[in-house]
Symmetry: C2
Subunit: 325 residues, 2 copies
Amino acid sequence: MQRDFINFTDFTDFTNFINLKKIKVFSPATVANVACGFDVLGFALNNPGDEISIELNDLGKIVLADETPYGLPLAPEKNVTAVALQSMLDALKSKQGFNITFLSKIMPGSGVGSSAASSAAGVFGANELLGQPFTRKELVQFAMQGEKAASGSAHADNVAPALMGGFTLVRSYTPLDVIPIPSPQIFATVVHPQIEVRTSDSRKILRQEVPIKKAVEQWGNVAGLVAGLFTNDYDLIGRSLHDVIVEPVRAMLIPEFYAIKQAALDAGALGCSISGSGPSIFALSKTEKTAQKVAQAMQDGFNKVGIENHVFVSPINKEGVRIAE
Amino acid sequence: MQRDFINFTDFTDFTNFINLKKIKVFSPATVANVACGFDVLGFALNNPGDEISIELNDLGKIVLADETPYGLPLAPEKNVTAVALQSMLDALKSKQGFNITFLSKIMPGSGVGSSAASSAAGVFGANELLGQPFTRKELVQFAMQGEKAASGSAHADNVAPALMGGFTLVRSYTPLDVIPIPSPQIFATVVHPQIEVRTSDSRKILRQEVPIKKAVEQWGNVAGLVAGLFTNDYDLIGRSLHDVIVEPVRAMLIPEFYAIKQAALDAGALGCSISGSGPSIFALSKTEKTAQKVAQAMQDGFNKVGIENHVFVSPINKEGVRIAE
């Protein structure tokens, strides 16, 4: 009996065990920084996202297959999903193997947490197949290792919302302290101009020292944004969505940034800034109707200068990564 | 009839008008910065505080009298209460005169908002006597002018909680945007060593540029503290009460700072840092019993090295400046 329980392949006809053996996972795009909250705040979107299938195998190793058009690296030590998953298996001291197939993928380098979605998908899927040894919050530390493989820095401001949904605050890294922040109904518009900005490059151009006056302004806005999210105060959220430290530097990497931002605000957005390290630009709006109007305005701005772009409108995804149908 | 209404002195027998003619005001001490929230956060205490009496006069000017032991400047242009009140009268285009008597006073230079209490007392008292033309929040801009007279900088992180009570966030100065932050029951311990640190001096030693890594750590903590106050999460409040930017510089102005802080934490405080620009040190505790234990520990720390000190234990004052009995 005991051996039968361990050998899942004997139970392929038993629905519960089929569910536990192979699942499809949807992992959402995320917007990090959220204007004022550089390196600490992020939120999840309903779309776009990554889709993977993940399955237990008996090979004692992670086997990867890519059905996306992006030519993802399939050597486990170079693939963010595998790196994140391996760090989780190491923590469990597990030799369990997995087959992972990348079915569809957020375009890499878009600035909406493409590597974070891949990292979150792998650890979430494996955690489900292994009977949930970890909470979603605990999975953040493993998904961060995927981020480290992708950009050299184990940041959590994308993987935390990808795993936990909603708005998240990474209060501290040492020790890791991730706080969910509630939010009212609010809609994000994200426009992705088809230019590539590498996370590592966009970090290099940041100044290592910032004026204390600007830092005070920034943490006033971070506190205001958190208070606005807690109190459903859309005006306060809007007043707080200002980045006086990172946006002024990174904006130069995104052609038309200030024109697009102004167009979004003119169309009724509460606020608008760079998504993560760019080049995507996000805006937040109170209603879906406004978010759609903002989408049109942002898209028009890029179209006018002939920059190909994709635009997404989504409510805040409160659930995070999930088992897909 | 109309003239009679204007001439209040004809109505001294009519209780409502007596109340409107002369009042006693209690204005609370405040703790600015609250560890991570340099220049943006503050909270009010029940004690100590300033007491003034304020009365309408027919002289068309502000007349000051001092019953405190501190030898306060009584020339209206040098007295913070008068400066703040005058800025309010200017906004009202009012020539109304006031007699103000300083009855008791927080010790100047203590770092618990002595000048803010005086500024708040004057504008609050006059606003009451004039039939409340302004809200408490609107009074902040006038009280700030008293702060400017005191320290050269029109900061609001003490006057906002003095006027509005509770925890307050000064999200922005241009335009002024003050946000009340709710808080669970929480007790403050403040120890004031009898050494003087001038606000202007303690600002001069701050670095004008700060490492972005430290700034990120700081705004992670600011966001965490606000989230902890909203969710009554004492643990999160405690984890967030860290100042990695200002405290390390200003601590050198306060003998025994790190020993006192450690003693407070060992006694059970959630967190401990410098109150405003010092030299007072504050700690926050979950219960009054712990706050008293913390008070003893902090006081012992100063006593051990022969530094005279006063200690106060108080819940957060939710009301702010008020008409006293």
